[in-house]
């Protein structure tokens, strides 16, 4: 045990000993480890560390952050599933990454959705389809038509579901869009600005380029429109029945004591609502926090998995 933990535990113990002062029904017996399913420095890591700091501040618990990168959270979830369900270990990942892995090769993975008690979502990444401001199309439907006429336009993507969506649309419309793999939204934006790509996906990085007038938005790839660009229609509204909803979310191994689950979910919810997180989310994702709560998170994962199976079929 670490010295700081010892001191904190001692401090909490004295607090509890004062009659009437203790409100906490459940408190962790030692430090809580928050495992991040991605490497240091990324947006998941940044958000996770801020949540850990806010939980520490609000509750006095000791939260230690660990990075367990690998396969979009698969490596982290594969170890988390075997951890003891005492509330001392929780993990943070991205819903879409978990869902895609379960849908594509679920038989090879040591976990399912119900292997975890889900605690909260943090924020929905504002996935959009964008193009250079001077492109000869203004909506996604026009882009599809343009690509069809011109023998296939080039489109940048940086994730499995985006690729599947475009393949499905290629199948139904014959748009022949060529998909260029990229490592990040920032890289796609570089390709658009440099004229190497005709359109691309982005998850928030594009918003300041809308302000600066370099890029425009062709469509929204999540299920509802985004507040910063209320006139841009979703893909569904434009007649393509697909969406992708990547939420950052937190989970613990299944079988938590209901009181512990409740205490953890409340603590995380308070952290997500804190001013520090609000500001950070505004900076990182340029949007607002949205916590669906424990049931909502689980429902989102389940419906997402069903959608993913349908999408894989449609993309064939």
């Amino acid at each position: 045990m670490k010295l700081t933990t010892l001191m904190k535990t001692a401090a909490i113990a004295t607090m509890i000993a004062i009659p009437g002062a203790a409100l906490a029904q459940w408190a962790p017996s030692g430090p809580i480890t928050l495992q991040i399913g991605f490497g240091a420095g990324g947006s998941t890591d940044t958000l996770g560390r801020a949540i850990a700091a806010a939980v520490e501040e609000n509750t006095g618990w000791d939260v230690v952050v660990e990075n367990k990168p690998g396969g979009g959270g698969v490596a982290m979830l594969s170890t988390l599933v075997n951890a003891e369900a005492d509330g001392s270990k929780i993990g943070m990942g991205v819903t879409v990454a978990t869902i895609m892995n379960l849908a594509m090769r679920g038989d090879k993975l040591p976990f399912k959705i119900d292997s975890f008690d889900h605690l909260a979502t943090v924020v929905l990444a504002p996935v959009s389809i964008i193009a250079r401001a001077d492109a000869p199309y203004d909506t996604f439907a026009e882009f599809v038509a343009f690509s069809k006429e011109n023998g296939g336009s080039l489109m940048g993507f940086d994730g499995g579901p985006q690729r599947l969506i475009m393949q499905s649309i290629n199948n139904t419309t014959g748009s022949q869009v060529e998909l260029v793999s990229n490592q990040s939204g920032a890289e796609i934006i570089k390709g658009l600005l440099g004229g190497q790509l005709d359109a691309g996906f982005s998850a928030g990085e594009h918003i300041q380029y809308l302000e600066s007038g370099d890029l425009k938005m062709l469509g929204v790839a999540t299920q509802s429109r985004h507040p910063y660009s209320p006139d841009t229609e979703t893909l569904v509204e434009q007649g393509y029945p697909y969406s992708v909803e990547p939420y950052f979310y937190l989970a613990a191994p299944a079988g938590l004591d209901p009181e512990a689950k409740d205490a953890l979910a409340t603590a995380i919810d308070e952290a997500i609502k804190s001013d520090a997180l609000d500001e950070l989310i505004e900076n990182v994702m340029q949007t607002k926090a949205s916590n669906l709560g424990p049931e909502g998170t689980e429902a989102k994962l389940n419906s997402g998995l069903a959608d993913a199976f349908a999408l894989i079929e449609a993309a064939k």
Partner: protein
């Protein structure tokens, strides 16, 4: 047959094994896209096989292995593996000193003050620094 030829032959057979046995099992086949997951590994393996065959017939390199050194390498790696396993299982603060001590003894260091310094002061100092000052987790 020289040692060089034997090692080159082993390399070529490993390359062939990877190409025809491991690659089909360990790489998924994908029906779309301009390059498939197997493209680059296949190229790399063919380069290894062809360059290996050329080397088998042309190389005049003379490889010498010292038996004593080889045993020391194997023993040293064994110490590393066991030590890391013990550190993971029982904790850094208990087995990192044992690890450092066994390596120093392996190298032939017998002076107690150096042993004390490098096997106890340093590992425990590192542990204290990482766990309590940097607040990171070690096993």
């Amino acid at each position: 047959m020289t040692a060089e030829r034997i090692y080159t032959a082993i390399l070529v057979f490993l390359g062939l094994g990877f190409l025809f046995i491991a690659l089909p099992q360990q790489v998924e086949s994908v029906g779309y896209g301009r390059i498939v997951p197997a493209t680059v590994p296949t190229i790399a393996l063919w380069v290894i096989i062809i360059a290996g065959i050329v080397q088998f017939f042309t190389s005049k390199e003379c490889i010498e292995l010292h038996l004593a050194d080889s045993f020391r390498v194997i023993a040293f790696v064994a110490i590393l593996v066991v030590a890391v396993w013990l550190i993971e299982k029982f904790g850094f603060e208990y087995f990192a000193p044992v690890f450092a001590l066994s390596i120093m003894l392996f190298m032939g260091e017998r002076r107690w003050y150096w042993l004390l310094f490098a096997a106890f002061v340093m590992p425990l100092g590192i542990w204290f620094l990482v766990e309590n000052v940097l607040n990171r987790v070690l096993p």
